[in-house]
Assembly symmetry: C2
Homo-oligomer: 335 residues x 2
């Protein structure tokens, strides 16, 4: 059975209809659809329409508030907090974004803590607009316990992604976004769906033995990337989005979650920095480009996110390709 | 030939004499010795007295100003900048530390950019005191080009360490400090000195071929930890301590350095965050401990830095053990 080819506009309209029908108000549907469609536009399937059944499950179970009205407040001269009102992350992040950008420009550096949200997306979508506004940005979030710390055998950390974005001279951005798990959960889910093997080092089974069976990993534990180093970074993210901002550690989220197939409850921390307020206001942009040029001078080297930016040029004319089974599933969620 | 056993006090006195004799004023000698002796106290040889010949080489060549008078200024409501006056990093960092702590408490989050310095130390020494003051802290610095980006063949990045520290309930801290290179440069230098092999994945030779010969790696390129993920983090650190703060990228530092065996010129960025200004002022400390307890409940798991803290309890009574050849070399630098 062939894939289904949809224009970005038609795919967006489908996503919007499904979200509205299942209890999202217009603002939440629009924010979630923008996030999902940014992934589809860049051909990042694991965070695109593939996630819609999970979003819908959490609306139908009542776990997530489809009509959430996130509110932003300033909690310190350099820090903002968004109460996400038990909604999906995208609207909360959208509401906090411009205030964060404004505050970072004023202060030099500022933080945005988002609490009481449900996150099911890629982080690059969230830091790219901040970099396109001329700021450097970090983002971190946690999840449910799926990753054993290096040296351990039981899930404790989330896949705990971190992202970083930096402004480019053409007004675009360089952004990377990595799970601190060796392999993104979404990719392992897709490997399981497609009957493929996971790469060695991706995880261990429920008894703690190494395995490349994606279903065994989903039932056991993923492993951090880079051994003890990636494990330390994952732990840092737990501290930042759990203890620091006053939301849930991954294992607390796992205990609180009703496991309806959608995103668990949790928080997110974003830090934005305005290079214009630091040491070289006139030169920093060209200085970053000098690094990128030196990287690209090495044959075969690509910048992080370069493939996404190339895909972004193609999908507006070529559309996207969805597996027929996924397309049928999502269409079935309209009812 | 056996190692030489010295008390911490005698080792400190030796280091101070060597630094003074070679052109450090009292403040700079004290700050460098404190940093070197913190590493010795925790039995981190690669950043301890092993570095003294390099420090001295840079004083003798005139590259580093042993009488540097670092100055701190506020460059934005949330950001400080230290002009290190072409000195070693420790005094510049010491001068910036309390102002950074004060500013982070006031603002919620604050950054310290140190420029025009020469860094030859471990970063955990620099973030632990900030965490002991009750704040979370990040630190990043770059170096000379020694690491090929993932997918590349030529040195471009430094070993670019990052550190993070978090306050503990007993007033101490959890700190990790990792080179984004697969293996710390100092460790490869020690492997070369001791005639040992480097682990697979540590680096490539001058022709770009994988090797475990530490001398071939020192002449070729190290590799980042964790493949493309570690490489992206290393790139991020270049942007932060080069372009953002207006100091040198690693390859610029390599061009500017006179290669006297001591530390290259460069910058450092530290970010401090006050959890008391975020979402859970009364609960964050216990919340962090809850994570640490869950980690330690997995058999065999240690927290980052735990071994250093154990060593710290031993060396005041047992002293430290220096290879005789290193001890003789350092004693020879008194003349």
């Amino acid at each position: 059975m062939t894939d289904v080819n949809l224009t970005l506009e038609d795919a967006d309209a489908l996503v919007m209809r499904v979200l509205r029908t299942n209890g999202c108000d217009e603002a939440n549907a629009r924010a979630v659809a923008d996030t999902v469609m940014a992934a589809e536009r860049d051909i990042c399937h694991s965070h695109g329409i593939f996630r819609i059944p999970g979003y819908v499950a959490s609306l139908r179970s009542g776990k997530v508030n489809g009509k959430a009205a996130p509110t932003v407040k300033q909690i310190a001269p350099g820090a903002l907090q968004v109460d996400a009102d038990r909604g999906f992350a995208p609207l909360a992040l959208e509401r906090g974004r411009q205030p964060l950008i404004d505050l970072a420009r004023e202060q030099g550096i500022a933080a945005l803590a988002v609490r009481d949200m449900h996150h099911f997306a890629a982080l690059w979508v969230e830091v790219e607009p901040i970099a396109e506004a001329g700021l450097a940005a970090f983002a971190w979030t946690a999840a449910t316990p799926m990753v054993a710390p290096a040296g351990g055998t039981k899930p404790l950390f989330g896949t705990n992604p971190m992202a970083f974005a930096w402004p480019r001279k053409d007004g675009s951005s360089m952004a990377f976004d990595m799970a601190t798990a060796a392999t993104a959960r979404g990719e392992i889910m897709i490997m399981a769906r497609d009957g493929k093997q996971a790469p060695p080092g991706a995880g261990i089974d429920a008894e703690g033995n190494p395995t490349t069976d994606p279903n065994a990993i989903l039932a056991g534990a993923q492993l951090p990337f880079g051994g003890y180093k990636g494990s330390a970074i994952s732990m840092m993210i737990e501290l930042l989005v759990g203890a620091l901002i006053g939301d849930k550690l991954s294992f607390e989220a796992g205990e609180a979650d009703i496991k309806d197939g959608g995103p668990p409850p949790g928080g997110e921390l974003i830090i934005a920095i305005d290079p214009n307020r630091f040491g070289d206001p006139d030169g920093w942009l060209a200085h970053g480009e000098k690094l990128f040029d030196a990287m690209k001078a090495q044959e075969g080297l690509r910048l992080p996110g370069e493939r996404r930016h190339q895909n972004r040029l193609k999908t507006p004319s070529e559309g996207i390709f969805l597996p027929k089974s996924l397309y049928d599933t999502v269409c079935g969620l309209e009812a």
